[in-house]
């Protein structure tokens, strides 16, 4: 939005948005102080997967292309980080950097193959690309450990404490979220929304649409990679299920439930899905059925996602 006289309601919506954001930040900052350790680890996971969901939203919500390979990109970062940590004993930063770089490179290759498609073809192609990664992780046993996966400890001694680690993740995710927010609101971010609305008009205006999509895809992969190395530090273990299609689906569901194109809706989506996974599974083995039901209800009553719905509602009330 520009600085020239925004309509009054937009102003109000922005204020309410800021207040809600402050509330969310406060909740994530203070809750761990009163929660038992196990629940702190759930909160950690929520933050990490929110980054994955935001990365997916950059493509799904801003370029209008729905990817189903980000679990694989995320998992590549996790695999590489853990593998490097087992090879380079004691190195702190190297495994993390290697993980993010690997994920970004994989995303760049995927981007080259996928950006010329859109709609359901894009979806199917990204599924196939993700499956290749999954197959490699399963079969390349000498490096990935096959079905047994890989184990490694990436956290330095100071961060073995669950609460200390949580606050590090909190700080990193806060910075990442801020950077992504600036990214989607930047001049480049606007070109992505333009591409979502009309590729032919963008070309006619002089934009190299493929180049913009390539950059967006690669940058989105970079952020998925950041989430992936955080997960490596969190979990100390990686197996093919981390790069499986279900991971990509879960990330996409988080983005959709929160509200595609809202960016921060990812935190709501992540909280709902990770929450269900951890708490509903205590009471019922059918937590996935519960998730399915919730998803259907949201699609019926708020197809624009929770945050999308709230925004719409606020701007209508004026």
């Amino acid at each position: 939005m520009s600085q020239t006289a925004p309509a009054a309601p937009a102003h109000r919506v922005a204020r309410i948005g800021l207040a809600a954001m402050g509330l969310g930040i406060a909740a994530f900052a203070l809750l761990p102080l009163v929660l038992p350790t196990y629940q702190v680890s759930v909160l950690t996971e929520i933050l990490i997967f929110a980054v994955l969901a935001m990365a997916i939203d950059v493509l799904a919500g801003y370029t209008g292309r729905t990817p189903l390979c980000h679990g694989a990109i995320f998992g590549v970062a996790t695999y590489v980080a853990i593998y490097v940590s087992t090879q380079a004993d004691g190195a702190l930063l190297l495994p993390l950097v290697a993980g993010v770089v690997a994920a970004t490179l994989v995303a760049a290759v995927f981007a080259l193959l996928a950006i010329r498609t859109s709609g359901v073809y894009f979806l199917l192609l990204t599924i196939a690309l993700g499956m290749i990664v999954w197959g490699m992780c399963l079969r390349w046993t000498s490096v990935t450990g096959g079905e047994n996966g890989l184990r490694g400890a990436l956290r330095p001694a100071a961060l073995t404490d669950q609460l200390a680690f949580y606050y590090v993740v909190f700080a990193v995710v806060a910075v990442v979220a801020l950077v992504m927010w600036r990214f989607v609101r930047s001049p480049f971010g606007l070109t992505l929304r333009g591409i979502r609305d009309s590729e032919s008009r963008m070309r006619a205006l002089g934009y190299n649409v493929s180049l913009h999509l390539f950059l967006a895809f690669t940058i989105s992969g970079f952020f998925a990679g950041v989430a992936g190395v955080l997960y490596a530090m969190f979990n100390d273990f990686v197996s093919p299920s981390t790069v499986a299609l279900s991971q990509s689906v879960e990330g996409l569901l988080m983005a959709i439930i929160g509200g595609v194109g809202t960016l921060f809706g990812a935190f709501l989506g992540s909280a709902i899905i990770i929450g269900l996974e951890n708490f509903a599974s205590l009471y019922t083995e059918r937590w996935q059925t519960v998730l399915g039901l919730i998803f259907i209800l949201i699609m019926i009553f708020a197809p624009e996602g929770i945050l999308g719905r709230i925004r719409l509602w606020l701007s209508r009330r004026g």
Partner: protein, 251 residues
């Protein structure tokens, strides 16, 4: 010779249909040219060949002296082409101002600013102001395009094509579907265009177009039927036949 745009024996084929059939056109710098002809004559397809959306089966397109037959759309825009679309082609979910920003930045390096501020620079603001006042969309800048009337959308369509300061402006039926009052606005805008801007205008309505241009090309069934100044078009027997629906098969 100061030819800005040259089509050399261009043919476009859609399956068995030759939408454009062996058409050669030369447009001089500063010229105002109309392309007229009945529906389905191949006018829009000709624009698509000029701008690069459609590749010709044979023939060549030259622009500012360079062969651009294989040049992608965005690179032709960078050479100085700009167009509007017959079927309104805007960014419906974005505001008028955001639409204008995208039009302004198509050729500026600022489009790659990944973390920068999205506010207008002083230069961008000045250019946007000019385009807004030309198209009378000043008060509408905060409105989402999908919420605007059809007439306003057509005006924005023109304003966005103009704001890039092109060498060649291609307008595809800018007045189609507009009320008589709105059509007057459109012809006023066209008349007010800088004289050194080269204009190619597709228009279905002869009355509107003949007062606006220096030269007219008539297409029919993909063929070039007649090229003549406006004064000769009305009285031309071939043109009358086509417009009265008595088109003879091309000899």
């Amino acid at each position: 010779m100061s030819e800005l745009l040259e089509l050399d024996r261009v043919t476009v084929q859609f399956g068995g249909l030759k939408a454009v059939d062996d058409v050669s056109i030369r447009v001089k710098t500063g010229e105002r040219r109309a392309i007229i002809g009945p529906n389905g004559a191949g006018k829009t397809t000709l624009f698509n060949v000029i701008t690069g959306i459609v590749r010709p089966a044979s023939g060549a397109v030259r622009f500012v002296g360079a062969d651009v037959t294989r040049t992608p759309v965005h690179a032709r825009t960078a050479l100085g082409m700009s167009r509007t679309f017959q079927i309104t082609n805007l960014f419906p979910q974005l505001t008028v101002e955001e639409n204008m920003l995208l039009a302004l930045r198509g050729l500026s390096p600022r489009k790659f600013s990944l973390l920068g501020d999205n506010t207008l620079s002083a230069d961008e603001r000045a250019r946007a102001e000019r385009a807004f006042s030309l198209s009378r969309l000043h008060e509408r800048r905060g409105v989402a395009v999908r919420e605007m009337s059809y007439g306003e959308q057509r005006q924005l369509e023109m304003a966005m094509a103009l704001v890039t300061a092109p060498k060649l402006l291609l307008l595809d039926e800018p007045a189609a579907g507009l009320s008589p009052a709105e059509r007057v606005i459109v012809s006023d805008i066209i008349r007010a265009l800088p004289r050194d801007l080269t204009l190619v205008l597709i228009e279905h309505d002869m009355d509107l177009v003949l007062q606006l241009v220096d030269f007219v090309t008539v297409l029919n069934n993909g063929h070039l039927l007649v090229e003549a100044p406006p004064s000769e078009i009305r009285t031309n027997q071939d043109v009358q036949d086509v417009y009265l629906g008595k088109a003879r098969p091309h000899a």
